[in-house]
Symmetry: C2
Subunit: 298 residues, 2 copies
């Protein structure tokens, strides 16, 4: 490729920038970034890119545009760039929720333009261009979205690109994507946020110091609950339907656990605890986590 | 001290054994262990101890007995050792729940004998003597339980012992202990087990492969949900009252989150997400977790 535009240069955007440069995938990378402080960081880090706002000049010559902003930013930017777009430019994004955003894109994107959505399962509780890394996508899944009207040539090129920067590619339709990740990512984040909130509410109620004793389990949740609030608000709002269902199933199961505890139902609770233990082994076998106890922390 | 008996030589018991040997706290350490496979491991590892079942012979000469079994084992063992106990021997345990176990001890332990309960906030998802480490308690909190009838001399000696093997000591009554840890440890474990159970239930319902995409958040919970099932059943059953309350507060908050999501209440959800983010910083400042992103995994 000759020219790539990355819109939003936070953790994911700047990691993509570094990975694309490292693998010599494009000759030139443009960055559009609205945050003043992120722009200063990008300049200070001397990331190999050109920061631009001149869509009129650059967009006609782009091979690829990658949206790396929170989902809530898409509409504004689409409306800004629409008039300069042509069908030959590949457009993708890295958003964590798909059905609603694709609905929006269908409505707002200029007719005849293709958008082929991506979702790299990579990231962490930190944000900002200073935390990006060229290896962020290495051995991580990247989901590519295929629909009826997907441009198969674009899908193929994107698939190659993700593989080149180290990812394993899986293809899903938007519905399946949002169902799977409501359970493996969105609900876990919500539950982590909620657990930390519950503990702090309780600390205020009881006037006990709790947080200092968080090494017994709470600390693990606090990591996920430190994730970027704008990004996660947008994911929760976008995948509302699936997350609501996931919450209901979670509460139903939690009530069943409570019943087991209150009635001291040994057989039922042991079955639950043993079954979940097996999942950890499966996750490690699937190389979705490291096999060191306590994440190798201690 | 001359002689110590450790009852139950799993992760915690064998770590205590190693730490006590390392700090030259006792001349001789006896181990009582009912699991045949653990005994074989202890022998293979050549841990510096004498495995025994001869309570009659050793108990009269003991300075300290430490219970490191699941809570559900206490009664049986107390009844076995009662007749050989004398008030000069310090007795402690490392159980994670206190009110119910202290009630049981009060009923079952021979009159005139002192039991001063400990709870080291240390451990991980792995169990067994092969995983023990002499540094397991280093910089970790150890809670000592103080009641009206606590033997203050015993409490003082135990406090010194825990500090000698690296712990920071805090003193609580059983009620406060069980309230604090219902929130910082027991609820997080229950929620982790429940999340993994919910994901596997969902996987069966949908016939989608979910677990392979667990790097988006679920994998973190699977670690805690791989903890020892007997130990955790006993904790859940013992601290039933506080855990039930914690579950209710958790569900109440989760419903509020769901409401925010369904009504797209931006202000309310952002407040929740920003408030919880601050807790992570506090936890790191209190040295309850490492300050590397993603626990330093990637």
């Amino acid at each position: 490729m000759k020219n790539i535009l990355i819109i939003g240069c936070g953790l994911i955007g700047s990691s993509l920038l570094r990975a694309v440069v490292d693998k010599k995938i494009a000759k030139k990378i443009f960055i559009y970034e609205k945050s003043r402080s992120s722009i200063l960081k990008i300049k200070k880090l001397k990331l190999p890119c050109e920061i631009t706002t001149d869509f009129k000049k650059i967009i006609p010559n782009l091979d690829l545009i990658i949206f790396c902003t929170p989902l809530g930013e898409y509409e504004k930017i689409i409306l800004k760039i629409n008039r300069y777009l042509s069908p030959k430019t590949i457009i993708t994004d890295v958003g964590s929720s798909k059905e609603k955003s694709i609905e929006l894109i269908r409505k707002k994107l200029k007719k005849g333009i293709f958008w082929t959505s991506s979702h790299p399962i990579a990231g962490s509780e930190i944000s900002g261009p200073e935390h990006g890394a060229k290896d962020l996508f290495l051995n991580k899944w990247c989901i590519l979205i295929k629909e009826k009207n997907t441009n198969m040539k674009h899908l193929g090129i994107l698939s190659k690109l993700w593989k080149k920067i180290g990812s394993r590619v899986a293809i899903m339709d938007p519905k399946k994507h949002d169902t799977v990740f409501s359970m493996t990512s969105h609900l876990p984040h919500l539950v982590a946020y909620n657990l930390v909130k519950t503990a702090t509410d309780f600390e205020k109620q009881q006037r006990y110091e709790l947080i200092k004793f968080s090494a017994g389990g709470l600390r693990d949740f606090s990591r996920i609950a430190a994730s970027n609030e704008i990004m996660w608000r947008d994911i929760f709002f976008n995948n509302q339907k699936n997350i609501s269902k996931a919450i209901d199933l979670f509460i139903k199961n939690l009530r069943s656990f409570k019943k087991d505890i209150q009635s001291k139902n040994n057989r039922s609770i042991i079955k639950k605890l043993v079954d979940t233990k097996k999942v950890r082994k499966k996750i490690i076998k699937l190389k979705q986590d490291i096999d060191k106890p306590d994440f190798g922390r201690s």
